[in-house]
């Protein structure tokens, strides 16, 4: 009964979305307030209906209702509660319901908190948002219905893929989707602005918080995914340039560019049509990501088998939205005129460089990810584009960008000079030199590129610190005055410093892990030892352990350093009898500065156990840096300027008009 209710709610949601798509748009064109007023309640109703459908699906999973085909395929009574919940989105159909739930949540948030938007813009934004909703609700109901019943109902389910039975992965999709789908808001704003033919400072000011609201969960989602891959795939790496990972990285790069270009559009009235284009591309790449992951066209560690007919349906949606948006852009963008002028050496100039480099990096990742698919589609040879390609294209584009990051915020708008900025960055420069010398002294044989990499990371971290220090006059001697200034410093400035500093920490982690990782592959008999990075690993015993829905082979490894015991590490190899699969659980001991990472394999037929161990320098910094970046986004989002005092457009309309 509840399942049918959920199905019915989803159908109703589609009807409401159709209404929300058509009526407010007509209202906005005719300037009819009554028709426009339909948008907000419809958006809320759509969210409530999809929420009911999602809750019904959740109920079916929690009660293990195996008369529902989806639950039978993806759940089992013996599964722990958290994975029964995660099972809802750990499959194609359920994850698409989560997708539209988040989509409608963003729509409802605009309806509820978008009171400061002009009626016309709000109606159009919600109408475009409903258009996306219609496409995906239709997709779910016609090709991926999660509410299909089985008759007769089996007594037990197939269980969830063990690889998904992991706390980080359980909550990775909701974050990633909140980011992916959140970019639909920037897209809807861009389309609405193109229809209106007007982009002004207040438009850019409205788009920024919504983009930031998507960027934060996207950052967290990517960091979580990378962390999961690190400890679960047993290879000790944090990023594999896997197509599914790239699918999340591309929208992130473009969203990051969009965050920065929107600042220029807001403050200076230039880069307007570029900002619109980025908003279109950010969401388009989210759709591409959804297509890549959901259509089964990829060979990937994360890709799961799905029905190819769905791939074609998603491809049609993709072509419609991207093609439609770009056509509209080509037709309407010439209407948007730039207002300000600026010199190459200015904050605008630095942000333009940021955008060019990020866009070029996103394009390089795009080519590397899609070229093999393209070649395959036209009947060419099967090829793989792996890490070396991305290291040679992505990294050289990131280096100049990272050099620029601390300089940009110190430049003035319109025109600036390097002398003043470089004086303020003197401290950061000194820190960089100290770190490079220290690294070279400490790792005398170490790769000199690593020293430069650590220098770059220091440049980012110290740059963020000295920027704030300069703004609050930290070195002027008057601590009380500095404290007062620090309190007055806009949250957005704090957010930026945190995000840039977090980037530096992540870069340090990446450089440290890549340059100084030590690896050991060996087979040990019980009682034998091996050496890695100054640690002695002794295999004490190998035993079995029973988990809630698995049986685990556990290796007990005593780790000593110079005779003293450091830790006992327990890598596991779990077998899931229901799913008939195995899953490696790496044992990781972290000091905050390095990880010791051990994986146990099979018995090698001669009484030895295969072990793979890594010593990963600075590895934890990668995810810590990502989390700090996300925290910076949240701090920035709480900036007063986004909440109150948003400019009243009705009054500024006359002022904006002559500039067009």
């Amino acid at each position: 009964m509840i399942v049918e209710l959920g199905h019915f709610a989803l159908v109703l949601a589609l009807a409401v979305a159709l209404l929300q798509m058509v009526v407010p748009m007509i209202g906005a064109q005719r300037r009819d307030p009554a028709l426009m007023a339909v948008a907000a309640p419809a958006a809320v109703a759509q969210f409530v209906l999809i929420g009911i459908a999602f809750a019904a699906l959740m109920h079916a999973f929690l009660t293990s209702d195996f008369s529902v085909a989806l639950v039978m395929k993806n759940s089992h009574t013996a599964k722990p509660l958290i994975y029964k919940i995660a099972g809802v989105w750990g499959n194609h159909e359920g994850s698409m319901v989560l997708w539209v739930l988040i989509l409608s949540l963003y729509g409802a948030l605009v309806a509820l908190f978008g009171g400061n938007l002009p009626d016309g813009l709000r109606a159009r934004v919600l109408s475009v948002q409903a258009l996306i909703g219609v496409a995906f609700l239709g997709f779910i109901l016609f090709t991926s219905n999660p509410f299909i019943r089985l008759d007769p109902a089996p007594i037990e389910g197939n269980g969830l893929n063990p690889i998904l039975q992991d706390p980080a992965l359980a909550f990775h999709p909701p974050f990633l989707y909140a980011g992916y789908v959140g970019l639909s808001m920037a897209f809807s704003f861009a389309i609405a602005a193109l229809i209106e033919g007007r982009v002004d400072a207040s438009w850019a000011r409205w788009v920024r918080p919504w983009t930031l609201a998507a960027w934060v969960p996207l950052t967290v989602g990517i960091a979580m995914g990378s962390w999961w891959a690190y400890y679960t795939l047993g290879w000790g790496g944090f990023w594999f340039w896997d197509p599914v990972e790239n699918a999340s990285l591309m929208p992130w790069l473009v969203a990051t560019a969009l965050l920065h270009s929107a600042i220029v559009a807001e403050k200076r009235g230039v880069l307007k049509s570029w900002t619109i284009l980025l908003a279109i591309f950010a969401f388009s790449l989210s759709l591409v990501g959804t297509f890549l992951v959901r259509s089964g066209v990829l060979t990937s560690v994360h890709a799961f088998a799905v029905d190819p007919s769905r791939g074609i349906a998603i491809l049609c949606i993709l072509v419609f939205f991207i093609g439609g948006a770009l056509t509209l852009y080509g037709w309407r963008a010439p209407v948007l005129k730039a207002e300000g002028l600026f010199a190459p050496l200015s904050r605008e100039g630095a942000l333009v460089m940021n955008n060019l480099l990020l866009a070029a990096a996103a394009a390089a990742v795009f080519i590397g990810t899609l070229y093999p698919l393209f070649l395959d589609a036209i009947g060419g040879p099967k090829i793989t584009v792996g890490a070396p390609f991305f290291n040679m294209t992505f990294v050289p584009l990131m280096i100049p960008l990272f050099c620029l990051v601390p300089i940009g915020p110190l430049l003035k708008w319109k025109r600036s000079d390097l002398v003043a900025a470089s004086e303020r960055l003197m401290g950061a420069g000194v820190a960089v030199i100290i770190v490079i010398i220290a690294v070279l002294a400490f790792h005398s044989r170490g790769p000199w590129l690593a020293a430069l990499g650590m220098g770059l990371a220091t440049w980012l971290i110290a740059g963020a610190f000295f920027e704030v220090a300069w703004r609050i006059g930290l070195f002027s001697g008057n601590i009380r005055e500095s404290f007062r200034r620090a309190l007055r410093l806009p949250r957005a400035s704090w957010g930026m410093a945190l995000a840039h500093g977090g980037l530096g920490i992540a870069v340090a982690g990446i450089v440290g892990t890549t340059a100084w990782r030590q690896e050991l592959v060996t087979a040990l008999k019980v009682g034998d030892s091996a050496e890695l990075a100054g640690y002695t690993l002794t295999l004490e015993k190998v035993g079995m352990r029973n988990g809630p829905n698995y049986e685990a082979l556990v290796g007990v490894i005593r780790v000593t350093r110079e005779g003293r015991e450091v830790a006992v590490m327990l890598p596991e190899k779990r077998s899931f009898p229901v799913e008939r699969q195995e899953k490696t659980e790496a044992a990781i001991r972290t000091t905050g500065f390095s990880d010791l990472y051990i994986v146990i394999g099979d018995e090698n037929g001669q009484g030895g156990w295969t072990l793979r161990a890594y010593y990963n320098n600075l590895a934890p910094w990668i995810w810590a840096g990502g989390m700090i970046m996300a925290a910076g986004g949240i701090v920035s989002l709480t900036d007063r300027r986004y909440r109150i005092g948003a400019p009243n457009r009705a009054r500024s309309r006359l002022a904006a008009q002559p500039a067009e």
Partner: protein, 156 residues
């Protein structure tokens, strides 16, 4: 600087960065692309030692043996031709006899394919698309499917 010169400057800068990016992509494409071959293609194309490629197929039943402390040897087959593979390390969780596998590496002087990475997919029912395609190409898809079903049976 006039407005026009400035705009020209920015356009030149933009084109310059796009040019550098294209250059990097093309340069990286030249050396860093890895081809995927089935065992039949390896034999037919006469791929010699030293060329890096990805080899995909099914792990032949009963072919996995431990040759060194942490080294295993197995045979990858598309049911037409087969290639012997040697790998040092821990194979992925889903590496199993009779199931699909993708190995990356190069053929050594002794004619054995030395893999530095072995991938198996994280889904029991799933076969890497390349493997499925190679099997379809060799007209042995049905058998491969059956093989897999048997594999499932024995795994229990």
């Amino acid at each position: 600087m006039t407005r026009k010169q400035r705009r020209a400057g920015f356009i030149a800068l933009g084109l310059g960065i796009i040019g550098i990016a294209i250059g990097l992509v093309l340069y990286a494409m030249r050396d860093n692309i890895v081809f995927f071959y089935s065992p039949t293609e390896v034999v037919e194309k006469g791929i010699g030692p030293g060329t890096r490629f990805r080899l995909g197929g099914l792990v032949e039943k009963g072919s996995v043996e431990h040759t060194g402390a942490a080294t295993i040897k197995f045979v990858v087959t598309d049911l037409m031709k087969s290639v012997t593979v040697s790998y040092t390390g821990i194979v992925p969780d889903l590496f199993r006899e009779g199931q699909g596998v993708v190995a990356e590496g190069a053929i050594g002087p002794d004619g054995i394919f030395v893999a530095d990475s072995v991938l198996a997919k994280h889904d029991e029912k799933y076969m890497p698309p390349e493997v499925a395609k190679a099997l379809k190409k060799s007209g042995r898809w049905e058998e491969g499917q059956m093989n897999q079903d048997e594999g499932k049976g024995t795994a229990q």
